[in-house]
Amino acid sequence: MLLRHTTNEVKERKALTVNPAKTCQPVGAMYAALGVHGCLPHSHGSQGCCSYHRSALTRHYKEPVMAATSSFTEGSSVFGGQANLMQAIETIFTVYEPEIIAVHSTCLSETIGDDLNQIVIKAREEGKVPLGKFIVQAATPSYVGSHVTGFANMLEAFVKYFAEKTDEKRRQINLLSGWVEPADMRELKRLMKVMKIKSVLIPDTSDVLDTPMTGKFEMYPKGGTTIPEMVSMGDSMQSLGLGEWATQKAAISLNNKCKVPFEITDIPIGIKATDRFIQALAKAGRVSIPEQISEERGRLIDVITDMHQYLYGKRVAVFGDPDNIIPLIEFLVDMDMKPVYIVSGTPGKYFESRMAEILSDRVPETKYKNGPQADMFLMHQWIKENPVDLLIGNTYGKYIARDENIPFVRMGFPIVDRIGHSYFSTLGYMGGLRIVEKILSAIMDKQDATCLEEKFELVM
């Protein structure tokens, strides 16, 4: 057994986290910054942070992930990291020549009280920022929230810094993408095209973390939200944020600064969340919904009705980030599956009310928890108490899946042992189809591998 010490005996824990369903803020800040064109993320802290975050993102994307670090030593930790950041800014603009440096803090620099704003102002005053180049900074203390919080903070920093209100309204909407994959961002852009809505998508990691092999390394690939696009966001008609945790801060900030009204909706995963997204888009862009969208929706429903028998009543355990698993859970319920165990390490009270709303009638037996000690160890213990038919989550779920012989669908961050997540979207109705396909394959592969020979089916 891989997790041989896990038993079904759940003991209350107040201090110990085992097998977390979250990680820390800076990696989210780094990911968000990679979705801005010509931007080099910078980690203001110890070297290890940057090294770990780059490694985590690289393993997930199998693509170059470039970022710099302030390389704190004991001296900087005692006397403050200002000198390190000042030198880093000079080094980066000279050697790596980005358009933007996106600085995020770490638990180290936050604990010693480094004030990023003040340091960046000083750098500007001292002429360390070349003309036409920019520094954006976000406080991302690792001891608050989770990786999703860091993503939200960096995203907020970008829109707050760049968006400008002029007298000219633009017939476009701001789409704050939330923490999704490059393929998902590509899909969002396709949907906008189909809907004939002009938009600015931020962040946008397509063409950054899914680049083609050309034989030439590009430090700043062609993708990513551009500076003019970010500037123009202040004149947009509306902002649409996908996911409360990852995008609300940025939407509010943009509203405060440039009076751009906003709506927060779920990431379009599954039927209902996509319905809401499409309707919100239509409303925001004042367009009618094209037939093509209805057809895509119809295809998804069609497949679910075709294969309903394999989905109905299946008990599912899910772990991941709130913005992503809330619509996913709703989708599972819509397909008559039973998401019985749900954990997310990311704190936030809204999670509970959404879970109750989605689950209390349809799956009253469900157990869910988020925040401190809502970890994979707890979820595994629940599974030990009463098994499930399917597990959905990031790669770390494979240890549980193997021990308990549960079909496993990889969704979330990080996925480090399979490819596909960066190339095939799980958003929209077409993405829903991919989720259904993955779920069915996992469940049916197990049936094929384990059923009695006389029960082996040709047609399913």
Partner: protein, 543 residues
Amino acid sequence: MQKRKDYSNGLLDLLALREEIMKKYPPKIAKKRVKAILINDPAIEQEILANVRTIPGIITQRGCTYAGCKGVVLGPTRDIINLVHGPIGCSFYAWLTRRNQTRPAEGEDNYITYCFSTDMQDENIVFGGEAKLKEAIREAYEIFKPKAIGVFSTCPVGLIGDDVHSVSRDMKAELGINIFGFSCEGYRGVSQSAGHHIANNGVFKNVVGLNDRERTGKFQVNMLGEYNIGGDAFELEALFEEAGITLLSSFSGNSTIKSMEYSHTADLNMVMCHRSINYIAEMMEEKYGIPWIKVNFVGAESTAKSLRKVADYFGDADLKAKVEEIIEREMVKVEEVRKSIKPRVEGKLAMMFVGGSRAHHYQDLFSELGIRTVSAGYEFAHRDDYEGRKVLPTIKIDADSRNIEELVVTKDEKLFRNDLVEKKAELQRLGYEFKEYAGMMPDMNKNSLVIDDINHWETEKLIEFYKPDVFCAGIKEKYVVQKAGIPLKQLHSYDYGGPYAAFGGAINFYIEMERMLATKIWKMIDAPWKHESELVGSMTIEA
């Protein structure tokens, strides 16, 4: 500037390359980096700048002290709960990512698949985290009943003044199991290297020597600095077992804390990764009189040489004969594969930038295939790893190394092995080398480029200049280099392959090189129409 194609004509002017690299840097950085990039000449004494601070803003390969302590040295040991005191990330990122394989018996403890953290929150930073740490240790004990718990400090811990050592002592008294702490905050040193030293100290102080058990074998040894990535240690264990050599403990591939407790009853310590583990070897010699030798089990020839060295140490005729028998048998298999692969890869160029020993050891494997290492360097090594231990007395202790504790070790009067001291003196008279490591540079060709703590800019320039056939580094570099059309072999994780140690490992590596170097996929990067004149369409939708 001369390019790689000129290389076969003899010496090439690397000064121009180095100058071009320096041109990009602000003068202060250039002044420092130029001392870390040497044009190797084994005939003369050369000094390299190593184990110094990375310049802020430079995209480095390096990680932190915590990574060296928890991730590298303690991570591979399975029967201890490694509890990370800090915000969640540090424990999360070190969770199973180093591929330390382990093989617990049925019913034996194995916590490697688990990730433990106190998940510090802002209130713990403001009011202190000791109470939460104590509670977390209690809960870990309650649920898992481990025999030992190690507590690892992350950056904020030292800054807010949490004392992991006193908490560990208190909890050890309360729970009656071995609990010990490490002050391995990420910022403690200039790289992972400081963490290795801190881990060595902690293990030596708190684990080694706890169990003076009776001898179980005629030739008792420890394997130091072998972390069982990709199953390397399994290969070595099988080798020793067949030879009749009793491996007491490994530091720390496929290891247990239990075995480290009696590791001081060994007759010899073999040091594989000199950088990460020489401290324990030194301390065990001072305290118990156990001599240590440098070995290398990467590469078939090196494996044979190291095995013979161990056999010579014991001087036992049967052992020597057995070792020769194994070498002879295994070399036949190795040669068979080598002969078939070498003609296809011979003359290719390799470069490698990893670790504190691999960038040296792997050159042996490459040269067995006739692949030439044109440039190499370490990520976190010290001068002695480049220039040899002879320079140890001349290495200046700077502010960054001074804050790592140097343990004062005294002779254990009861257990000190005077017999081994005599044996060592005797063998030394015959020319046998103990506690000796000559470093990487003497083994490298004249005019190869040695670079310490290589960074992204230098990597790009090197690739442009040499167009190597294979580049060895880690995960962060992997796709950067491959986008440039050069295959990269990860020498930290082995790209999820291996083992590459010992004879069987050498065969695996040869086959892997054949795969990487013979594939035609890199030649398919350009689409066939890329080099044709463009057609003007007359059937486009718009037409």
